[in-house]
């Protein structure tokens, strides 16, 4: 698996334009935000769903290449949707890369988040860099799928590569490092 840093070199090229993508979020704003970020990456959101029930219908009929789903939704929540999908027997959708997003995870839902079978969970604040990092990462995620008791999903142990780096605001950290570098270079009379 490529390391995360390598995958996100500015000059590295990714081709995601053909990805049949589904975004599920009960918030119209969050749905639009994720879709707009994906458009920037060259991905047209094929299915934008406001709820899990609508998504389930589509997942039973059409193959999806990437699923981006919000955790907290009324009715069937994101965890329940992913758990259902993994156990659905739908080929190849049961094995589709799944990125979950959450503004916040309730303490009582932490185990659910770990055990639902998603490839990755992004906690907000939302950033384009974090989303693209995770998409590239799940595309190259080489973990086998395991069935253990009630669990069905990617191996939860990261054996061949360390888990990806800082999850939150990675772009801001990079920006502040870059700004700090500019300041120190300016102090030394260099041109950045």
């Amino acid at each position: 698996m490529s390391s995360l840093g390598e995958a996100l070199r500015d000059s590295a090229v990714v081709n995601l334009s053909g990805a049949v993508t589904m975004v599920i979020d009960d918030s119209a704003f969050a749905l639009e935000l994720a879709s707009q970020a994906l458009v920037g990456f060259g991905i047209r959101t094929r299915h934008a769903c406001r709820g899990a029930a609508e998504a389930m219908e589509i997942l039973q009929e059409q193959n999806i290449d990437l699923l981006v789903v919000d955790c907290e939704m009324p009715g069937i929540n994101g965890f329940e949707l992913v758990r259902w999908l993994r156990r659905s027997g739908l080929e190849p959708n049961a094995f589709v890369p799944v990125i979950m997003t959450a503004a916040h995870i309730r303490r009582t839902r932490v185990a659910e988040a770990r055990d639902c079978g998603a490839n990755f969970l992004i906690t907000k604040p939302f950033s384009a860099t974090t989303l693209l990092e995770r998409i590239v990462w799940v595309a190259r995620d080489g973990r086998p799928f395991l069935e253990i008791g009630d669990y069905f999903g990617p191996d939860r142990r990261f054996r061949k590569a360390p888990p990806p780096g800082p999850e939150r605001r990675a772009d801001l950290i990079r920006k502040s490092e870059y700004e700090a570098g500019k300041v120190s270079a300016a102090e030394e009379g260099e041109v950045v």
Partner: protein
């Protein structure tokens, strides 16, 4: 416990990501940020609406209504984070996340001191209206909220 391993299969996403064509990471991120920036006005409207929603949640009058009022509060706070986060309004995010931490940790069957929600709603309004340069005031507000949350969380452990 029995473990069934399904060998790694290459997904469509894995096949296409390194195929010919595509876009550089730098260009992809720049385009995405431009697209997101175009939503700033919409985001600020959502922030305003969610702070108003938090201010408007009535205090529960019985234990029965506490759970639904807390859900309402939690939803407004998370939607606020959704809208404020991409535009670097991190003070608002921190204040809203603290409230979510508390609501996510408590037992909704027990009595809840609703003044915490009221204080958060007022603080969020203040954070939204304070000028960006008022860093000290912002820090003081966030510190006070953090102390409230820590005290209450300690009682739930």
């Amino acid at each position: 416990m029995t473990v069934i391993t399904h060998p790694r299969r290459q997904t469509n996403l894995a096949k296409m990501i390194d195929s010919a064509g595509g876009v550089s990471i730098g260009v992809a991120l720049a385009k995405a940020r431009t697209n997101i920036e175009a939503m700033r006005g919409q985001a600020m409207a959502v922030v305003e609406a969610q702070i108003s929603a938090l201010e408007a949640v009535p205090a529960p009058t019985s234990l029965l209504s506490t759970s639904s009022r807390l859900d309402q509060t939690y939803l407004a706070a998370t939607e606020l984070i959704d809208a404020a986060g991409p535009f670097e309004l991190f003070d608002l995010c921190r204040a809203a996340a603290g409230l979510c931490d508390l609501i996510g940790a408590i037992n909704p069957e027990e009595a809840f001191d609703w003044r915490i929600v009221t204080v958060h709603a007022r603080s969020l309004r203040l954070l939204q209206t304070l000028p960006v340069e008022a860093a000290e005031e912002r820090a003081r507000i966030l510190q006070s909220l953090r102390e409230v949350i820590e005290r209450k969380l300690a009682q739930t452990d």
